[in-house]
Subunit: 566 residues, 2 copies
């Protein structure tokens, strides 16, 4: 069913997630389920929809003059300026559903005029100065894993690709238990470096503690400026909790924040850089907390609850228990749990019968999965406490193996989107954070809107939880409307976002804001806060060269509450 990624420079090679050689064959039962519920025919499967196998060829040449290109080459060296069609397109899109469908349709989209790869901070300073003088937009570029249209070069300009050269660990400081790293380093390279940093202080090396689903194809700098969360964030925190110090080059100059453990010396500007999403400047260095790498101490657990309410109650009690926190902790709602058990071949079999007799019925039952890391005794105690809470809420212990499997394959789900879209199946995700008080209505309200479109699947899980609430992650699956792919998606997406906000959820917990959330961002922030963000922007980037065109609604002029196309 899957289309091999061509070695040629095709549109498909740009829209395809992750490792070009990794084709994730969907589980047979999942294909059966999708075929049945989405009315996918064998014919659909045989003839992939908009496969985008053409070689990239643009009809818009770079808008930069020969003199400008020469100036850029003088700053970073001639090998570090690229205006080829393929690289320009590849640097003009992320992995949002919007980006992907636009690529499949070869729709006319805004393009960067050149890709520039700085070698070091001095190059970044030089490029920013040049762009500021010439008023050329500049878009910092990392792993391009944005699913919120963080990279759309609405006004053209230069993509500043930090991954080619600025991709190294500068220093591991074992005394301070921290690492200073360049922004363009990808997750696996960073983690490998730390794992292999073995000394008498930590004979098994260190770990970065940040493992988003995009881990393999996202960068340290991208994590920070978009405020990402890893799958173990319940224990390790979100990336902004790990930032100890940084260097940030803006058109106005460099902000350097040293790695003091804490200070009461005025507002904490680390929290202006985190979440700035390329609109204020370029991160050139960041000092992050690290942890001891002790994979042998990892411990897994899972439970089955009779219903969503019980699972939520247990999750909340764990998060509010004041006994320490598991590192991973997630509950799946009945639909996600149901599909999970179906895919594993449990549903309809003998185990399912026993579970049903015990009161754990398909369509109601919910799975909780978790893990602990770090100190072994502490992990044991936390697991024991979690078990007691789960038991109190009427759950059944399911052991460790399911979680171990999830852990092993945790980066693979995004690979499935291509296969589904080939079958005319739309699949996308939105996420939010809400208080425990609002969680039931956000869950129900968003599900209602997703399910109002028929046929549709809405799988929900709560992970990344806190004392006062939790993230909710919605995976929605429906049919593509051939011919009207883009507007149809945008309308659906808008209705889902509205349901999140109207029921008391935040626009995003960890995907970031980008241009996708811009139509909601101003109302969410409020007038005074929005004025403040624009004043911050005007101070650091007076000519609006940094990632302009809608991100964080700083210069967004479109309709409110409505996902937009360009």
């Amino acid at each position: 069913m899957s289309i091999e990624t061509e070695k040629k420079k095709t549109y498909r090679s740009i829209l395809k997630w992750g490792d070009p050689n990794h084709i994730e064959e969907p589980n047979k039962r999942l294909v059966g389920y999708v075929k049945k519920y989405m009315a996918v025919t064998d014919e659909d499967i045989k003839t992939p929809h908009l496969p985008a196998l053409d070689e990239v060829k643009l009809d818009t040449p770079s808008a930069l003059s020969a003199a400008d290109l020469e100036s850029l080459k003088n700053i970073v060296g001639k090998d570090n300026v690229d205006i080829s069609d393929y690289e320009r397109l590849r640097h003009s899109v992320g992995y949002s559903y919007y980006d992907v469908i636009a690529l499949r349709k070869k729709a006319k989209i805004p393009l960067v005029d050149a890709v520039v790869c700085p070698r070091h901070e001095a190059d970044v300073v030089g490029i920013i100065k040049f762009c500021d003088e010439k008023k050329i937009p500049l878009i910092p570029f990392g792993g391009r894993s944005s699913v919120v249209r963080g990279l759309d070069p609405i006004k053209g300009g230069i993509s500043l690709d930090l991954t080619k050269h600025m991709n190294k660990v500068i220093k591991v400081n074992e005394t301070n238990k921290s690492a200073t790293v360049q922004p363009g380093m990808f997750g696996p390279a960073y983690e490998d470096y730390l794992n292999n940093y073995k000394t008498e202080n930590s004979s098994t090396g260190y770990s970065c503690g940040h493992f988003p689903q995009s881990f393999e194809y996202s960068t340290v700098g991208g994590w920070v400026v978009t405020k990402g969360a890893g799958s173990l964030s319940t224990g390790y925190g979100k990336i902004e909790d790990m930032v100890l110090g940084l260097k940030f080059v803006t058109p106005k100059g460099i902000i350097e924040i040293k790695d003091y453990p804490r200070t009461a010396a005025g507002p904490d500007l680390r929290h202006i850089v985190a979440g700035s999403e390329g609109t204020l400047g370029v991160l050139t260095e960041v000092t992050l907390k690290v942890w001891k790498f002790r994979p042998d101490n990892r411990s897994y657990f899972s439970f089955l609850f009779k219903n969503w309410e019980g699972a939520v109650a247990a999750l909340r009690e764990i998060m509010q228990g004041e006994f320490g926190l598991p590192h991973m902790l997630r509950i799946s709602d009945p639909e996600e749990s149901g599909i999970g058990l179906m895919v594993e071949g449990i549903t309809g079999g003998p185990i399912d019968k026993v579970l049903s007799l015990l009161g754990y019925k398909d369509g109601q039952r919910c799975i909780l999965m978790g893990s602990t890391e770090g100190d072994k005794d502490t992990g044991c105690l936390i697991k024991k406490k979690v078990k007691a809470i789960a038991k109190k809420h009427g759950s059944l212990y399911l052991g460790a193996s399911a979680v171990r499997g999830w852990y092993r394959h945790r980066y693979n789900d995004p690979y499935l989107r291509e296969n589904l879209m080939d079958m005319k199946v739309m699949t996308d995700t939105v996420e939010t954070a809400c208080s425990w008080e609002n969680l039931p209505k956000v869950w129900a309200g968003v599900r209602q809107v997703v399910k109002a479109r028929k046929p549709s699947v809405c799988m929900v899980h709560a992970s990344h939880s806190y004392e006062n609430g939790s993230m909710l992650y919605f995976i929605f699956i429906s049919k593509i409307k051939p011919g009207d792919e883009i507007d149809d998606y945008l309308n659906y997406h808008s209705s889902i976002l509205n349901a999140i906000i109207d029921n008391g959820g935040s626009p995003t917990h960890h995907h970031g804001t980008g241009r996708l959330m811009a139509p909601w961002f101003e109302d969410f922030s409020g007038k005074t806060a929005m004025g403040l963000l624009r004043a911050i922007k005007a101070e650091l980037d007076p000519n609006n060269i940094m990632n302009p065109g809608g991100t964080l609604a700083l210069d967004f002029k479109g309709d409110k509450k409505k996902s937009f196309r360009i």
Copy 2:
């Protein structure tokens, strides 16, 4: 030796710390020590230095016109505007050493022109609007416990006293485990309210988790805008870690941040409000995390180390152990430990002899104290882990009772300052946060500068620690130079601050910046960051009415690196 606080409205009643009826008689051994080392004579003790027992009488009338006063009364009601000499002076000073010595000398200091007590948020909005139109400075006022000259009304204006009316808990939300509270509520009232909020969810009530030394005479709003830390912050976090949501009235409008557990929706403006120290607006409501109140689960421990290096190494290993954290954790350096054991009557006695024989010698040995709270099993495990680390570093277990005593008297030390100053003894504190890497040189460098003045005492402890470093707290004691009290103090203070910064410490961990640190703040922040802070100020408070005159160096024009007088 102590002077009874007069019932009359004296200067002394303003400079005296805390409960007017609480006179803290210094321990006899401490008095003996101070007499000996500071060459304090019986004559000095008999004739208190600058006792400031006169009734307050100002020779500067309020600069507000009758019409302005009338307008103010129309906004908040006539009972909520006060221009009496006593209240104007009381609202024009905090408790910095500078404030206190200025009061003792009845020096001419800047004064507020009126004290205004808003009844609710609408009053705050009205007063800000009035002041903004009339360009009258407005200084938010809470517990006035600032030790960094946060309240000095350099340009006169209005003190906005939030403690009279805006001092209530608005809501306890047990589902979200949070409390929403008004800014003018004092620590004990807030904690009592929570302790007594007993329900089936928590039969023993809740706790705020924030217990700074100023707890009894500081307010919730003050904690937040100055980024305070409580004595249990190692476990509960600093106050800025507890802020979930807030409402903040600025001249430009209201910033409201709802209590979403987390969001990736742009920069986190909670961290602009925290640390703003009255310069951007007035906090009118804050939602904070709360914890279950379980005093029975509290557990204490203490150890004696052979030297400072061993104590620091143990502290660092505990903070980096990944097994959870004690709630209180502090190590005292040899001088502080020595004075502590002397005051307890240990030094020179039979126990001292045994300790010396075991290698724990006076002048080198260091005390570690700590406590755990929350879940009992977790506390037990943490204590066990701490014991193992302390043992590894050659310490002797001292049991719980010393810590219990410290805990009981933890708010009392500030009461001693009056007695010491009466004896012509200067005593003040500075604090910093530094990485583990810099800690030894900050400790040694600051001590060197303090001790260069003879005679002097320099007691240091490290508490409020983190994975990558710790706060260091310096208590310095020396002789007052009669006649030259102010400049002599400012020069000494400047040299100490310079030693902190030059050796790699931050200007403050939890006291805040105020006007005291202004001469260091711009260089500490850097040019671009300082420009950004000024742009934030200009956006929210374009007429510079909010706490103007040096705080955070926003409009500071004095010499750098030099504590200033007005």
